[in-house]
Structure formats: structure tokens, C-alpha cells
């Protein structure tokens, strides 16, 4: 008997891509803590950036001498290179706890610690000098950025800045131009499974769409073009009230890890169909300081046997079909938002790329591992897609560099609040949103 033919069903095959992980620089298994302080990472950062800026200085201002801070002479125009330090009046200081004038109730902490009196100081290993002049705006810069400054020392002992040189966008490996097919990478973050605002149906819809269990043939065809999924942090939210220093009853213990179990079930569904990377975020069970280490595979007993499942560091970098991706779960940009200002979050993202440093405020205000011989947050090669997770709203920008670099900057919104995931096309770096809503009546 003939096999029954059920109309002309097209079998969609998912497209494949070559994946190459570049997370080794963010792993700290080989590091050994010997009591070092953060001066080591600042030294490594200054040295590597200074070598770079010294090479750019002759093309910027050819006839000016380059000198160290201690070698400044009054009235002599020169170029100095060093790390910026922003002195901020409102920056919370641990010594405030010991202040005698502290009122009983804590003051309402402002979200942004900027103040009109903030001033910048440049520091290198020989000394520091206060910066004056309007060429360098304290509102834009933060502590930890390495720049070259052109100016001269004033009679007041300050350095009057006339011009600033940032490192600029790093060199980029050329994108392959022969990609004919549309291949999409889905980026999402802020699932917050376990929180009150998370809607399980929304995430289930997303998973069904990605795995091709949703929609008609056309939509399945679109889903078959998804080659990779990246979850950028804050996938779970634990009930914090249970973690209060007391021993947990066994009933509480099971409620504590419910969110992770639920996440594992969903990741299992995704991993069965497409390769997925999961990055830790602020609320995830990973270490606090950057670079956050991959979530332990024991947390995902259902998903970890799949070779399509990858637990990654935060920040995370990988190559997909020779398109370079670089992204974080948002801590670096959120910290910049506290200590500087910009019209949009993408301005912060662009600045980190121009400063060639993912998280300049680390270790000053952002937790960081005290590396001794390197600074893993330095961006050496320009990515093609640079994403930041856990932002308030979706935003994207195509940034063009002076040497032909082309970067797509993406702010991924929190999925639990917006129901929006982002899809990036590897062929032309264009992106669009995947929006999921479970409300039928919008009244």
C-alpha cells in the first residue's frame, strides 16, 4: 500500500553556521589570587592603551612632544597619556557609614551620581594632574578611561586641555561578502523566570516560534533561518525573601530552585532544535564580579547533555560564520548610566567601543576580578554585532568607523517587561524585533 501523502509538506531544514567561542579571555579558572590589589589591572590597562595611543599621537598632532605627568612644564604644549579619574561629590563612599552627621534614616540615593562640580584628573604612574578647560566634559567621561590629551600646564598647576584623543574604533576583520542566505541570530535577555512580572506563556511562545512549532509553513520557514540563540543574562529571579541567613526548610528549598528548573525545561526545548548560549546576569546564580563565569552545568541537568547548549561568560564573544559578536548582560552600560550621561543608551555603547574598553568603570564602581597581567575588557578587534542586555527598551544603531568598520549596536530589552526579542541577520547586519504578547483584548 502506498504511503499516504499529506499535501505537499515542505520539510524545513534549519540552516547551519560555524560557531567559534572566544570566551577564553574572560575565564578565570587559571588565575590565582595572591593578595594583589587593583593597581595591577590599572597598570596593565594603562600600559596597553598607552602603547596604542603613542602610536596614534604622531598622526594626530605631529609636532607635539609626548611626556609623562611628572615631566610637565608650565606653558609648554605637549601631549600626555593617562587614566582619567572623575572626582564625584555624590559618589557613595564607604566612609559615609562612619560620618557623625549621618541621620538615622538613610538618605534617598539618587540613581545618577553626577553633579555640576565633578572634575576630571589624569593619572599615570608618575603622578596626577587636575584637568581644566571645556574640551573634556566631565559629564561624558568616567573613571578608568585612558585618553591622550593635548594641552599645557597652567600657572595654577592644572592641565588646560585643548584637545582629546580617544583610541577610536579598533580594527575590524572584514565581513564575508558571499553570504547569500538570510541567517538570523536571536538575542534575548531579562527572562526573569520566577519573578511576578514574568509571563510563562510569553516565553513558551518564543520557544515554540524558534523551534518551529508555531505558525504556518511560511512562519516555519522563517524559524528555520534562525541559526543561533543568545540569552543575555537575568534568566532567573530567585525569591529573595527566602535568603535571609536562616536555614531553609526543605519546602522552601524546593521553591528556591523552581525558577532554575523551569528555565532548564525551556532551554531543553530550545537546545533540542538550535544552538543556544546562556550568559549570566546580575540576578543569576553566578559570581558577582565581572567577568562573570559560566553558569554551572549542574543547574541544567536537562539541557547540558546537548552539545547545542553552551553556558558562557559575561561578557561573551563568539564568531558565527566569521561574523564577530560581542555582548554583555548590561552591567557595564548600567554602571556608565550611573556615573555619566547620554541622550540614549546607545551613546554609552558607542563610547565603550570608541574607548576600546567594555567596562571602564571596573574596578572602580563595577565589581571586577583583580587581574595582574592583562585587562580582558580591552576590545582589540571591532565586533560586527555588539549587544547589551537587560535594557529598558529596544534600540539599535549602525555605527560606521573611520577605517570602514561597520558595527551593529543593539540594546536588548528585558523580555519579562516587553516581550521583545531581537533577531539579527548575519547577511546584512540588519535587525528586527520578535514581539510576543499574550493579551487578547487591548482595552
Amino acid at each position: 500500500m502506498e504511503a499516504m501523502v499529506i499535501d505537499s509538506e515542505k520539510i524545513h531544514e534549519r540552516k547551519q553556521s560555524d560557531y567559534n567561542s572566544l570566551d577564553e579571555r574572560f575565564e578565570i579558572q587559571k588565575e590565582m589570587y595572591r593578595g594583589q590589589q587593583y593597581s595591577q589591572i590599572y597598570f596593565a590597562r594603562l600600559h596597553l592603551m598607552r602603547t596604542l595611543l603613542y602610536s596614534l599621537a604622531p598622526t594626530w598632532k605631529p609636532h607635539l612632544p609626548v611626556c609623562k605627568v611628572l615631566g610637565l612644564e608650565k606653558g609648554k604644549e605637549c601631549i600626555i597619556v593617562g587614566t582619567l579619574f572623575k572626582h564625584m561629590k555624590l559618589k557613595p563612599c564607604v566612609l559615609d557609614e562612619y560620618s557623625k552627621e549621618r541621620s538615622v534614616t538613610p538618605l534617598v540615593k539618587p540613581h545618577n551620581f553626577m553633579h555640576p562640580d565633578d572634575n576630571l584628573i589624569l593619572e599615570d604612574e608618575s603622578g596626577r594632574v587636575k584637568l581644566a578647560g571645556s574640551a573634556l566634559s566631565p559629564a561624558i567621561y568616567v573613571t578608568g578611561v585612558v585618553v591622550a590629551l593635548h594641552g599645557k600646564e597652567t600657572n595654577a598647576g592644572e592641565f588646560f586641555v585643548e584637545d582629546v584623543l580617544e583610541a577610536g574604533l579598533p580594527p575590524q576583520i572584514e565581513r564575508p561578502i558571499d553570504l547569500q542566505d538570510d541567517k538570523y541570530v536571536v538575542l534575548l535577555s531579562g527572562l526573569c523566570i520566577g519573578s511576578k512580572s514574568a509571563n510563562p506563556l510569553q516565553f513558551q511562545l518564543l520557544v515554540d516560534h524558534i523551534t518551529g512549532h508555531l505558525g504556518d509553513e511560511e512562519e516555519q520557514g522563517l524559524a528555520a533561518q534562525i541559526v543561533h540563540v543568545v540569552i543575555a543574562g537575568n534568566s532567573v529571579e530567585f525569591p529573595r525573601k527566602l535568603i535571609n541567613g536562616q536555614n531553609l526548610a526543605s519546602k522552601d528549598q524546593s521553591t528556591l530552585y523552581e525558577p532554575i528548573k523551569e528555565l532548564d525545561i525551556m532551554l531543553n526545548q530550545i537546545a533540542a532544535g538550535v544552538s543556544v548560549d546562556i550568559m549570566p546576569g546580575t540576578n543569576d546564580p553566578a559570581n558577582f564580579a565581572l567577568p562573570q563565569q559560566p553558569l554551572n552545568r549542574c543547574l541544567f541537568p536537562g539541557s547540558s547533555p546537548y552539545n547545542t547548549f553552551r553556558s558562557c561568560t559575561n561578557p561573551h564573544s563568539f564568531d558565527l560564520d566569521n561574523i564577530r559578536f560581542l555582548g554583555t548582560s548590561g552591567q557595564n552600560i548600567d554602571d556608565l548610566d550611573k556615573y555619566s550621561e547620554a541622550k540614549s543608551k546607545l551613546d554609552f555603547v558607542e563610547r565603550t567601543l570608541r574607548w576600546r574598553h567594555l567596562a571602564p568603570t571596573a574596578p572602580n564602581t563595577l565589581g571586577c576580578y583583580p587581574f595582574t597581567d592583562r585587562d580582558p575588557f580591552l576590545i582589540e578587534t571591532c565586533p560586527h554585532v555588539y549587544f547589551v542586555g537587560n535594557q529598558e527598551k529596544y534600540d539599535n544603531r549602525l555605527l560606521k568607523g573611520s577605517e570602514g568598520q561597520l558595527v551593529r549596536l543593539i540594546c536588548i530589552p528585558k523580555f519579562c517587561e516587553t516581550g521583545i526579542a531581537v533577531a539579527v541577520n548575519l547577511r546584512n547586519l540588519e535587525c528586527h524585533t520578535l514581539s510576543f504578547s499574550t493579551q487578547i483584548n487591548q482595552s
Partner: protein
């Protein structure tokens, strides 16, 4: 202040030169000393003239030419901060960052007969 008394006793070392036993000067390969009180060191006021009785100042007992060279390497700011790293790690970092540190330092450190930690390790 028992610890201070112990330190001062070791500080005001008065050895009789013709006794075979007594306090012998030894060169420790890995130094684990209690933090020396900075105020008790190197101050001329507290040092009586008796210390110079042997013809040389009795400060910094185990401090020879090689250690001096390593200390100069520690203090050189071009190679970055020295605290929190062993000397050989700092030398290797300097090499990796392209600073061309002198090879004699590496040779000395690889012999293993010198102190591997920097000058201030355990003291600050």
C-alpha cells in the same frame, strides 16, 4: 606588648664573637617574618653606638648584592606595581608587555636561592 619586646630583642642583637653557639645568621629562602614595626627600624635615635661594635652596621641582616638587584627591579615603576605578585610573575608580565626586562633578573630568580616575593610582601 610582648611582640614588640621580642622584636626589640632580635633587633638589638648583641652577639659575642667568640662563642660557637649563639645566634647564627641564616639566609631564609622564603621569608615569613612578623610585620616589623616601621617605627622601630632605621631610626638613628634608637640605635645605640654599641651596634657598630663589630665594624659594620647590624641592619638588614640578609641583604646581599643579588637581593639588592632584585629590590631595584621591585622598585622600578616602569614594570608596574610589585605587591601581590611574585617577582618571576612580574618579570614575565614585563616580558609579555614588551618592556624588555633584563635577563639577569630572570636567571637569578630561576636559581631559587633568592627571595621569590617582592620586597614589601607580607609587610604592607
Amino acid at each position: 606588648m610582648a611582640s614588640t619586646a621580642k622584636n626589640l630583642k632580635g633587633f638589638y642583637k648583641q652577639t659575642k664573637s667568640n662563642i660557637t653557639g649563639g645566634i647564627s645568621k641564616s639566609k631564609p629562602s622564603s621569608r615569613k617574618v612578623a610585620p616589623k614595626h616601621a617605627a622601630a627600624q632605621g631610626s638613628d635615635v634608637t640605635q645605640p653606638a654599641a651596634l657598630i661594635s663589630h665594624g659594620s652596621l647590624d641592619l638588614n641582616e640578609d641583604y646581599d648584592k643579588e637581593e639588592e638587584m632584585l629590590r631595584q627591579f621591585d622598585m622600578n615603576i616602569a614594570y608596574g606595581p610589585c605587591l601581590g605578585m611574585t617577582r618571576i610573575d612580574r618579570w614575565e608580565r614585563a616580558l609579555r608587555l614588551g618592556m624588555n626586562p633584563p635577563n639577569e633578573i630572570e636567571r637569578l630568580l630561576k636559581t631559587g636561592k633568592v627571595q621569590q616575593d617582592c620586597l614589601w610582601q607580607g609587610r604592607v
